[in-house]
């Protein structure tokens, strides 16, 4: 059992060291949501009135509304970027070091996903701290209650990223997947607008957003931040995390890329 623990520690530590060495990655991960919060939200505050909707007990500013969505945006980009690094690792050969470990491959990949998720959480809490000073102040206990929700969402998005990266032949192709996955997931969700606003605009757009897993991820975090619980969001996120992780592990095989190149 100790071997598994040491292995997990080693994988998390390596991810942490790489993160520390790439400080620009930390800042760029923060710049994106901060621009949305400080510039985009400020501009849209007057245009978008937010009615009283769960989990909020009163009228809220637009900035308050979008903070959970922006926190999930960090997790979304990091999850995909983490998977991108696995494509890079696979192409550069360093993935081989991980895979020649005698421990089970499923455990190694799960550890890698957990390491990516933990690093993402640091960035989310750095963002929430800045948002706090900007005036978006959820309950203090909400920040703690959101931790498991954020971890689950981070794992969900990392597993999705790994699943997608398994189908990618070369590193360059990942950029296309980013455009076809990240932006639709983010914009067709409740991250920036409540679903009732979407319904006012278009019924089919509303349904697209309602069925988007990212909407449930955002709502899980939003509810947790305000010390409320959304069973539907939890069920969707938990179920999809298990499904994506299982599919990612089952379809992960370094020889697939070689076989495709050879065929």
């Amino acid at each position: 059992m100790n071997a598994y623990w040491y292995c997990l520690q080693g994988i998390v530590q390596r991810e942490w060291l790489r993160f520390v060495l790439q400080r620009s990655r930390f800042f760029s991960a923060l710049v994106r949501p901060l621009l949305w919060l400080l510039v985009f939200a400020a501009g849209f505050r007057a245009a978008l009135g937010i009615a009283i909707i769960a989990p909020y007990d009163t009228y809220i500013t637009y900035e308050t509304y979008i903070v959970p969505g922006l926190a999930c945006m960090i997790l979304l980009f990091n999850g995909m970027q983490g998977s991108l690094s696995m494509v890079y690792d696979r192409e550069m050969g360093s993935m081989r070091v991980l895979l020649t470990s005698p421990l089970p491959r499923a455990f190694l990949l799960a550890s890698k996903l957990l390491a990516i998720a933990l690093i993402s959480l640091l960035q989310v809490y750095a963002f929430l701290a800045i948002a706090w000073f900007y005036g978006v102040q959820p309950p203090v206990w909400g920040l703690l209650a959101a931790l498991p929700a954020l971890l689950l969402v981070a794992l969900l998005l990392s597993a999705l990223g790994l699943l997608l990266s398994n189908g990618i032949r070369q590193l360059e192709n990942f950029a296309g997947v980013m455009n076809f996955v990240i932006f639709p997931l983010f914009f067709l969700s409740s991250a920036l607008y409540p679903l009732w606003k979407m319904r006012e605009a278009s019924e089919w757009l509303y349904w697209l957003c309602a069925l988007n897993p990212f909407t449930h991820a955002v709502e899980l975090v939003r509810f947790a931040l305000y010390l409320r619980f959304s069973p539907l969001a939890l069920a969707v996120c938990l179920g999809l995390t298990l499904l994506f992780a299982a599919l990612a592990v089952l379809t992960f095989n370094p020889q697939h890329a070689a076989l495709r190149k050879g065929s």
């Binding site: 071997a3 360093s94 065929s263």
Partner: protein, 244 residues
């Protein structure tokens, strides 16, 4: 007991056959050289030996453990140096080694002691805090060997480990691995396409166009190893067109 038994291994990339019915043994504590021109199937064989690729046909045993049935026990006996460097250039020597130790389930204290020991053996003790990026090719290869030996394997695979090194570094690396082999009773499978890395006393395996075409002590291939190798790896004659 053989360190490595490869039995009837075949592998294809789609329609392209990379290995056909390859079988050989590597004795415990011996230095074996797997020789073959580029594209002969050496790297595919290494990928199969390290379980990066799944076996399609045949089986591989490492110290009696089948890669199919007991992959964990088999991989524990195995250290690998890949052709392409797999070190993290931005991490230090020590950090790279510590990562590998963790992947093999070694605790910090035990890993620390083994890192000290291996770095001393590779004469890299003073460079432990340097980033890999700052090391030359020869030293990087030594770090990879230290890493491959950290979990104390009994079989060491080196896949064209000397590629990219200058002649002096190539020779030094080859000698260094031979010394490790004799001092630690380590079985070594050294793959190469360069004849000057082979000594007459080595067990030689010659791979060409996906098949094992010769096997035995290098000295038995004849006095002129280069001529024998050229004969064994000569391209297949092109079919002649007749009757036009």
């Amino acid at each position: 007991m053989s360190a490595l038994q490869v039995q009837g291994v075949s592998f294809a990339y789609g329609p392209r056959q990379a290995l056909q019915e390859v079988g050989f043994n590597v004795a415990a504590g011996s230095f074996s050289a797997l020789l073959g021109p580029n594209g002969a199937g050496k790297s595919t064989l290494i990928a199969l030996l390290t379980r990066l690729y799944d076996l399609q046909h045949g089986d591989i045993h490492i110290f009696g453990h089948s890669l199919r049935c007991e992959p964990r026990q088999a991989l524990r006996q195995l250290g690998v140096v890949f052709q392409q460097s797999t070190l993290d250039l931005d991490l230090s020597v020590q950090q790279n080694l510590a990562y590998h130790a963790a992947l093999h389930g070694l605790g910090k204290r035990e890993a620390g002691a083994r890192i000290d020991e291996e770095l001393a053996r590779q004469q890299l003790g003073e460079r432990r805090h340097e980033k890999i990026r700052a090391l030359n090719g020869g030293h990087r290869r030594r770090v990879e060997i230290a890493r491959a030996l950290l979990h104390r394997p009994r079989l060491l695979l080196l896949d064209e480990a000397s590629v990219g090194l200058d002649p002096a570094s190539r020779l030094a690396l080859n000698q260094h691995v031979r010394t490790l082999c004799s001092e630690q009773q380590l079985a070594v499978l050294w793959t190469t396409h360069l004849l000057d890395e082979i000594a007459t006393g080595d067990d030689l395996l010659v791979l060409n166009r996906s098949r094992l075409v010769a096997q035995g002590p290098a000295g038995e291939l004849g006095d002129d190893l280069a001529a024998s190798f050229n004969r064994l790896t000569a391209p297949a004659p092109q079919p002649m067109e007749v009757g036009r």
